[in-house]
């Protein structure tokens, strides 16, 4: 698999001269399988420039939504393949007790919030409600599991050829824990992260900021380091940067990472590409 970051920002798109290197687009990661499978993790504003690169040769693709907070779906209406009659687009996202995923997405993709209704999209749209389960997206095996974040939220583990990429962009595993991290089986998302070759994980806050945002569904950098160590991952990519953090502040935050960690920490910057093979 090859992964490319198209949007690394959390909560709110934050373009500007202060965020040029880490990027201002909200969550979106493109994953290409070895067989050409096109899989997209979340549909934040980063999906708009990604869509512009997908030509007519891409007939079928999969969009995996972790949850339906606006910063993870806002780019959907600007994703070009949705407006192609010959495209088959699968959207996978968390199941709800009350309403199908299609109905919940239609709340955003309909007037007055958006001029085009979901039902009017010319592509063949296949919407899948996902619980904690394994499914196949082209040549990539996907494990989905609910993780700690307000509202039904999935994390994903993508596997191909014995290698795994774990994606938990909005995750607060420390919520309510008397000690953190707890043992693996009692740590949210552990099964998805366990032994992953690449972990893309929420690092929205500094430790001090986290204390002011307990229960908001996100992690401090040191908490992400702790779960990455617990899960024995190979590489950790920091992600879902706070919209108020400038490049300079993020450099400073990453400068606090201890050098002797048993895994590599890579600052999540828009445009970064990772091989998982």
């Amino acid at each position: 698999m090859r992964a490319r970051l198209w949007g690394t920002r959390g909560s709110l798109a934050s373009p500007g001269p202060e965020t040029v290197r880490y990027g201002g687009h909200t969550s979106c990661v493109e994953v290409r399988g070895g067989d050409g499978t096109v899989l997209i993790l979340d549909a934040g504003t980063g999906i708009q420039p990604l869509g512009a690169t997908l030509g007519p040769e891409v007939k079928e693709l999969h969009i995996l939504l972790t949850h339906l907070h606006m910063d993870h779906i806002q780019g959907l209406g600007f994703f070009k393949p949705l407006f192609r009659e010959d495209a088959v687009v699968h959207i996978w996202g968390p199941i709800s007790a009350k309403r199908h995923l299609r109905d919940r997405l239609a709340r955003y993709m309909s007037p007055p919030l958006f001029p085009v209704s979901l039902r009017d999209l010319p592509c063949l749209l296949v919407v899948h409600d996902v619980s904690s389960e394994r499914f196949q997206a082209g040549g990539i095996t996907v494990d989905a599991d609910l993780v700690c974040h307000p509202g039904p939220t999935l994390g994903y583990r993508l596997s191909e050829g014995g290698k795994a990429l774990a994606y938990l962009p909005d995750h607060e595993p420390a919520l309510g824990a008397r000690t953190f991290p707890q043992e693996p089986s009692w740590t949210s998302g552990f099964g998805l992260m366990d032994g992953a070759d690449l972990l893309i994980h929420d690092t929205q806050y500094t430790s001090a900021e986290y204390q002011e945002h307990v229960g908001w569904g996100h992690s401090a950098l040191d908490q992400a380091l702790a779960v990455a160590a617990l899960a024995r991952v190979q590489r950790l990519v920091t992600f879902h940067h706070d919209p108020s953090h400038s490049d300079e502040q993020l450099d400073e935050l990453h400068g606090t990472i201890p050098p002797e960690l048993p895994f590599e920490v890579i600052p999540g910057q828009e445009g970064a590409v990772f091989e998982v093979e």
Binding site: S131, L146, W186, S188
Partner: protein
Amino acid sequence: MGEPIEVILLRQWSSYLGLPVFIMGESGALIFYNEAAESLLGRRFEESGPIDLDELSGLFVTTAEDGSPISSAELPIGVALLSRIPAHRRLRIQALDGVSRLIDVTAFPITGHGGRHLGAVAMFWEVQGT
């Protein structure tokens, strides 16, 4: 895979409560109990870890309020696990400390996201003045 997030959050929640709480897994094993429940079991969770069903039944003598025998299926936790409905009952228990206590027990099934049956929770109130 680890415990489901629904069960993890129940553990975090119960760890802040002052009343005894048991969290049973789908198989009926006691997968977590909080600090307030330690006096009922006579040991700390950090020491015991999960307790399977067979061992658990040996830690208590449980009867109906009047002292008559009661089957495990009739206990609130049994009803919540087997019938998947909430249950409440006054019981008499004698735990490891040998003290006989009259308690109220409320149990409810853990129905997770997507309707998954994940186990049950039991909460205990000691009846005062008995």
